[in-house]
Amino acid sequence: MSETGAQTVAYVRDTMLPAAPAPQAESGAIRWLRENLFSGPVNTILTLLGIGIVYFLIVTFWDWLAHSVWNAGSLSECREIIAATWGEGARGACWAVIRDRWNQYVFGFYPRDLYWRPTMTMGLMMVALAPVLFAPERRIRRILLVITAAVTLVSMIALSAPAGWLLFAAVMLIGGLVISERNVLWLLPFSVVFPLLGVWLLWGGSLWGPIFVLVGPALGWLAYRAMLRVLPAASVIVAIIVTLLFWLTLAGEAARDAENLLSLSIQSVRSDRFGGFLLSVTIGVSGISLSLPLGIMLALARQSNMFLIKSLAVVFIEFIRGVPLITLLFVASLLLNYFLPPGTTFDIILRVIIMVTLFAAAYMAEVIRGGLAALPKGQYEAADALGLDYWKAQRLIVLPQALKISIPGIVSTFIGMFKDTTLVTFVGLYDPLKSMSDAVRASTDWKGIYWEPYIFVGAIFFLICFGMSRYSMYLERRLQRDHR
């Protein structure tokens, strides 16, 4: 039949076809193998080569892994056990070093009788994070908080925490769980206060310090309210100035005076006692939570129409990105002291946190700028046309969408930053990877052990970073509603 014939024959459909089910996909393991692994000569060769490499790796490392020793007091004892069990010349992994030095890896040189304090801080951090990370997911929150409460309380008992603090932790953890079941947003005030509480619990000293740090923004807010009536344009700037002035001039004195009137002190711990994963997590979590808002501000500044603000943002971002992190850390540890007034003690961990935050924020700003650029211009125009001012448009329309687009990049920056916390070894802090493993090897017991500490530290880093990566994928899925 010719094509022209088909065109000239009139046709009218009198019944519409109902939807038919899609044909069953052909399945079966054999078919899958043939399609994916043996589809042609090249694929087959590659598959066999791959299997060969995996086999070689397993054969090489299997003995070593299978001959693991978990109970030994020193490397020589480890080797004796391996020789006695699997014969002379057998190789084996000596994980006993981790068992032996677990506390050192986790807490560094933190006073042994105060180990419960970082433990409790970690537990409370989970409560503070619940409304931020898992706001709409009651089930995940419940699992997370129950496990956190159980692990924290059991660890605190095992670490012989004082009864009063144990009660405090129990009230906070179980109270957090109860509130999270009622309405998780009620936990947000705790999330806001937690950083100060955490700093106090980790470093100790007087509670009046954190309290007067909080008084600063409160005064700033009062100034803001007052200025709003007189000169609204300057109110934000005045609020910031009042806050900073209070912190720089009055806060220290006030905290000392209050401490003399009513002592609210716990034993203080110096920064050089921090080490291991406690140090990494402290720097990492602070850096992550500070660099995101700073990165957002920098990204917005770089997109700003105001020349000065834009130029400052560009200079800052390009400078920080162009300099290795180690340089910034050296600046933090050595140079900063020259610029500060003599006699000021500026904590080394705080300095490192500031530098790491600035470093991550510069990268973050570029990642978020990508997200901002990906938004169609119409979104800005629609927000403008509705009469939303700049900040409301950013907060309600632009950032929710731009940040969603940027999630993979943001989390990559977080992961990179968390791994970079090991670089603090260069300014004399005890990071878990280099300094702590060196410290472990410095003892006669564990002299000469290399693989096991590195594998252990690497595995912990992998777990945390993989966790962040999975969280980012979960978040992307959860926010994918506009593509439904």
């Binding site: 125009e381 629609a382 046309a385 509705l386 009469g387 439904r484």
Partner: protein, 261 residues
Amino acid sequence: METIERQIDRSQMTVSDEVAIDIRAMNKWYGSFHVLRDINLTVYRGERIVIAGPSGSGKSTLIRCINRLEEHQTGDIIVDGIALTSDIKNIDKVRSEVGMVFQHFNLFPHLTVLENCTLAPIWVRKIPRKQAEETAMLFLEKVKIPEQAHKYPGQLSGGQQQRVAIARALCMQPRIMLFDEPTSALDPEMIKEVHDTMIQLAEEGMTMLCVTHEMGFAQAVANRVIFMDQGQIVEQNNPTDFFNNPQSERTRLFLSQILGH
């Protein structure tokens, strides 16, 4: 060309002598390109004005100047008695009184239809959420999609999205509505549902400025048609005379091409 079955009853429509928008000797440049040249236009309350013209003639730019999505360089634009200058307060005031509907809808994809409609009333007008939601539902019923209120824009058809966009603009209870080629991105079946909504709006006495290529809509709804070319107003007239007896050569050429005579 699309035909509008429902002509609006013009005898019922009153155009007051109160000025809604006054544009005087307005000029705008993009860099050195003179995009709007000496625009003079007075819009009275209750008028339905259709702006037609070839692409690149400055029609969209003109109505985007009215809510300052574009900045004009010389001349005056006075909307509802407020002069548009670089004063941000006046701009925000004008923007909350003037609703705008875009060619590509520009709904906020991360918010539901209802949230799209309540966002500006809550954050700009400071109306309590519950009340804003009630108003939004009223307008969603008016554009005939109340049942989609809790869906996301991405789940709706183009015509439905544009009607949501109209409802979103109406929720601010504007006194003037601007339409920037509201049906250009829609297929013919959807154009009708959007036009019906706009006709209904016209019948209620809304002051409307509409940039469109749909001459049927202009004939049915407009009380004044403005023809623009090369950044200038070439001709303006009531629709009957505009379509049956165009004065300028340029208008005649345009109409013959667009109407396919």
